[in-house]
């Protein structure tokens, strides 16, 4: 019988917000074909024993769609922020190296690998990331849009609020109130839409307030880590131009 291949995981754990329970634990789980980090964590659920034989509570993590479209399972795998579902074991550990897994650091910790990203959803309220609809009743077709407009908007609209850009951004964190790239990108998206444009100024003004677009330090880390390859740096530059224009000429147009 061939020797059972083993996947080694080293996981940063913490029982709750109190840092006193923070610890690394190591687990060895059997390898399977097409295995990803999520299925390795699932193996721990089935036999929650550390590499040194201690029975522990299974590791807790967030996940949902497992196909990198919901954004839930974002964590730090081998030092890189990403979704655990698309982290294939054979890719992140080609020679059977130990895979290190840790929670994101820019959000309040709930337990183990679970963090609370609700601030990202709150930020969407601040910038009014929606089309202000008259109602859901029938009003006929929406405004016509060129295929080019759709091709610009669609990639921006694929943001799954996963938090990768927030984690990578040196300006986001306890030391600042910078809103971060994700919400700024949404402002660009809604300001592009023929009806969304009508409330453009409200979104720009939200980003001209403290914690707004001025907080960007142009490190450009965001675009590097975005799993959906959203052109975040372009979005920030575009919205920055819009706010400048609004600041200089907005009062004239009123």
């Amino acid at each position: 019988m061939p020797e059972q291949r083993i996947v080694k995981l080293k996981i940063l754990r913490q029982d709750g917000p109190e840092a006193s329970t923070r610890r690394w634990e190591e687990f060895h789980v059997p390898w399977h074909p097409q295995m990803n980090v999520i299925s390795a964590l699932m193996e721990i659920q089935k036999s929650p024993t550390t590499a040194d034989g201690k029975t522990v509570a299974p590791v807790v993590w967030d996940s949902c769609c497992l196909e990198e479209v919901c954004g839930a399972c974002t964590m730090i795998v081998n030092g890189k922020v990403r979704q655990a579902c698309s982290a294939l074991v054979d890719k992140v550990s080609p020679e059977g190296e130990t895979i290190t897994i840790a929670p994101m650091t820019k959000f309040p910790l709930v337990r183990d690998l679970v963090v609370d990203r609700s601030r990202m959803f709150e930020d969407l309220k601040k910038v009014k990331a929606w089309i202000h609809l008259d109602g859901s009743h029938e009003l006929g077709p929406g405004p016509r849009q060129s295929p080019e407009n759709q091709e610009t908007a669609y990639p921006l609209s694929r943001c799954m609020t996963c938090g990768c850009c927030m984690e990578a951004c040196p300006q986001v964190g306890d030391h600042s109130d910078f809103i971060g790239p994700a919400a700024i990108n949404q402002v660009r998206l809604f300001n592009l839409h023929p009806s969304g444009k009508m409330h453009k100024d409200q979104r720009l003004e939200a980003l001209m307030a403290p914690g707004g677009i001025d907080g960007c330090g142009k490190a450009q880390n965001c675009v590097e880590v975005c799993p959906k390859e959203i052109p975040l740096v372009d979005s920030i530059a575009d919205v920055s131009r819009q706010t400048t224009k609004h600041m200089l000429f907005g009062w004239l147009l009123k």
Partner: protein, 678 residues
């Protein structure tokens, strides 16, 4: 402040509860808000991560922008035919006629639908039709639709409560979200009316009762019962199972859709959308079962395009039940799946090929799904045919819900019977209910049925609430305290379980039999063993050892609860499959190959029975339920008043719609079915 009936004397806002924040739940919330009814919205996950996000291909609406002669009537006929006539037809008609308006509404909400050169919405083809009827946003349409509705609901989180007479309640918002809360059960008063819910905060694990003047479940399907499927991990069906155990009827549970094209994975089977075939993707296997060359190197004449050969009328776009059976036949029974030189065996997989299509078109229309293949399989689908096989995808069955038919054969707008379960005050919308797809769902009808279900549920609930003799917020608190205590005791009992069974391993055992024996082909002898296995698993559940006793974010204890609820629904599915001695849509019995309308053109209605330690099912032919002071009598008879049942023959182009087949326009579209030039 002027008096408003929205606020109680003690200053509480009277709300309706919606559980589930996917397309159906969010639409229901929007409709309730527009009717001036404040909402408490509960969801297992932040609503933006709901399973609707996984839908790829698109949403159907017969807008007929391609001049093909498509119409809502044709859409109705094709949906009824595709569902093998098991769906009640008035709700389907309501849905297909509302569809163009729904797609326009989504367009107004800012969904980045693909466009034609003229700036109009673009439409593509999907299964079970010859028309271009499916609007799409790349290949992540579900995500884009979910986001649009999420944005609308987020706006309502910032809007002050305002009743239908325009009285504003400062400081209270139209929508309050309770995300990362698990639904434990509905709260029934002494006369059996739903008065609220009990839910658990998945961070603090606190269990609380919430009052609501009505409750709408929009909690999705139960795919996780089958283990690995195309479903998200949250789709355990736990909420549906909980209310079924409280007396709600469950209908057509045995109808489980297996999607023909998914890719294998260790944790889930990822969907490769039907839109790939809608855009011209072709399914084939090498004619030589020992073919060792890579797919792209196999010459055209040595390929067996088996769907096109057997079904010249619809080709690669036959409905999913048929395509899955053909793939299973090829890969499993005939052993002609793609040969794996490493193992020396033929895999179950077949090829899904888009390499003949222009890359720029693929990028614009299918990038999201081809990217999934690339990321998870590590091969380039633009260069090599994809290897795919069938996977459990969708439940046509679900909570039984009622409807009231209008004179024109659709639904009476705002009737409190629409989307109502047989528990008074409990409504359901989306995949959690059974209503729109019969025995087999057509591709791109699910996003539509979710949104339409919500658009119907909202006004239905508004009417129901208006007719309430008294509000839940005026009831004595003991009703709620009792329900809360019951759920707390249950949870404490789970935390105290210290037996020897690992709940995740029990789930693996359930999934293994359900997947093998209760999907594409069903045999009565085998189903008996499945049911015996469920008996055994329910018994062993009592001997579970809970792996986590933490008071914070305890996923282990939560899973033990979901597991028990999965067993209960698994029994409804397996027993329903065993009872139904015919083949219809997704339900196929080799020993009963024919559809049997005389005996089985009827809705399976299951009621829960508890014989102490195990669950059991009562199948009923009729039931009575109370609604606003009256008793409604319903039976299992299917309303086939609009499209007469006939045999399904996808070999012939246009067979799915009599209206389309008789028009000249339809004949023109037949040309579209010819395989691309070689």
């Amino acid at each position: 402040m002027a008096k408003t009936s929205i606020v109680t004397e003690s200053g509480k806002v009277r709300r309706v509860i919606v559980v589930g924040g996917g397309l159906a739940g969010l639409t229901t919330v929007i409709k309730l808000c527009e009717a001036g009814i404040p909402v408490d919205l509960f969801s297992l996950v932040p609503v933006k991560r709901s399973h609707s996000v996984c839908a790829q291909g698109g949403i159907n609406a017969s807008v007929n922008t391609k001049g093909e002669g498509d119409s809502p009537e044709v859409h109705l006929e094709e949906t009824a035919y595709g569902g093998d006539f098991l769906a009640n037809q008035p709700p389907v008609k309501g849905m297909t006629y509302a569809a163009p308006g729904i797609v326009y509404m989504l367009d107004r909400m800012g969904v980045p639908f693909n466009r034609t050169p003229e700036g109009l919405l673009d439409f593509r083809r999907f299964g079970g039709t010859l028309f271009h009827r499916t609007a799409f946003a790349g290949a992540t349409t579900g995500q884009q639709l979910l986001y649009a509705l999420d944005e609308q609901v987020r706006r309502y989180e910032t809007v002050d409560v305002e009743d239908d007479r325009g009285i504003v309640v400062r400081g209270e918002k139209m929508v309050r979200k309770w995300e990362l809360w698990d639904f434990l059960g509905t709260i029934l008063d002494d006369e059996g009316r739903a008065r609220g819910i009990v839910a658990q905060d998945l961070k603090s694990m606190a269990i609380e009762a919430f009052r609501g003047d009505a409750v709408c479940l929009a909690t999705g399907g139960p795919g996780i019962i089958f283990g690995k499927s195309t479903n998200s991990v949250i789709n355990t069906g736990t909420a549906a199972s909980a209310v079924y155990q409280q007396g709600a009827a469950y209908a057509n549970g045995e109808f489980i859709q297996v999607h023909p094209t998914a890719i294998p994975g260790a944790d889930k089977l990822r969907l490769i959308s039907e839109s790939v075939r809608g855009e011209g993707g072709r399914v084939w296997v090498p004619k030589d079962p020992k073919e060792k060359r890579r797919g792209r190197d196999v010459p055209e004449k040595e390929r067996d395009y088996f769907l096109e050969a057997k079904y010249p009328g619809y080709g690669n776009l036959v409905p999913r039940d048929i395509a899955s059976r053909e793939l299973f036949l090829k890969g499993f029974h005939e052993g002609k799946g793609v040969f794996n030189p490493k193992s020396g065996k033929n895999e179950l997989e077949v090829y899904l090929d888009v390499t003949h299509l222009p890359k720029d078109v693929l990028r614009k229309k299918l990038e999201g799904v081809l990217e999934i293949y690339e990321k998870f399989v590590g091969e380039d689908p633009y260069e090599n045919p994809m290897r795919i096989f069938p996977a459990v995808h969708y439940s046509m069955g679900g909570l039984w819900v009622d409807f009231e038919k209008s004179a024109d054969g659709k639904l009476v707008p705002g009737s409190p019977r629409n989307q109502a379960t047989n528990i008074q005050g409990l409504y359901a919308a989306g995949e959690v209910e059974y209503q729109y797809h019969g025995a087999n769902r057509l591709g791109a009808n699910s996003l539509l049925s979710c949104i339409y279900g919500g658009m119907v549920a909202g006004p239905a609930i508004a009417s129901y609430v208006k007719g309430l003799p008294n509000s839940s917020f005026d009831l004595k608190s003991s009703v709620f305290e009792k329900a809360e205590k019951r759920e707390r005791d249950r949870y404490q009992a789970i935390l105290a379980m210290n037996g020897k069974e690992n709940p995740y391993k029990l789930h693996d055992e359930l999934a293994a039999v359900m997947l093998r024996d209760c999907t594409i082909e069903r045999h009565n002898g085998v189903l008996e063993k499945v049911i015996a296995k469920i008996d055994e698993l329910e018994d062993r559940w009592h001997d579970v050892g809970v792996t986590d006793t933490s008071t914070r974010a305890n996923q282990g204890a939560q899973f033990v609860r979901h597991l028990r609820n999965m067993f209960v629904l698994a029994r409804v599915i397996a027993q329903g499959a065993k009872n139904r001695d015919e083949s219809r849509g997704a339900h196929f019995k080799p020993d009963f190959k024919q559809r049997d309308d005389a005996n089985w053109l009827r809705t399976t209605m299951a009621l829960y029975k508890d014989d102490g330690k195990r669950s059991s099912v009562d199948y009923v032919r009729a039931l009575d339920y109370p609604l606003n002071g009256k008793t409604v009598h319903v039976t299992d008879e299917v309303d086939i008043s609009l499209v007469k049942p006939r045999a399904r023959r996808y070999e012939t182009a246009g067979a799915a719609s009599a209206t389309a087949a008789s028009s000249d326009d339809a004949k023109k579209t037949k040309g579209a079915e010819a395989p691309p030039a070689k």
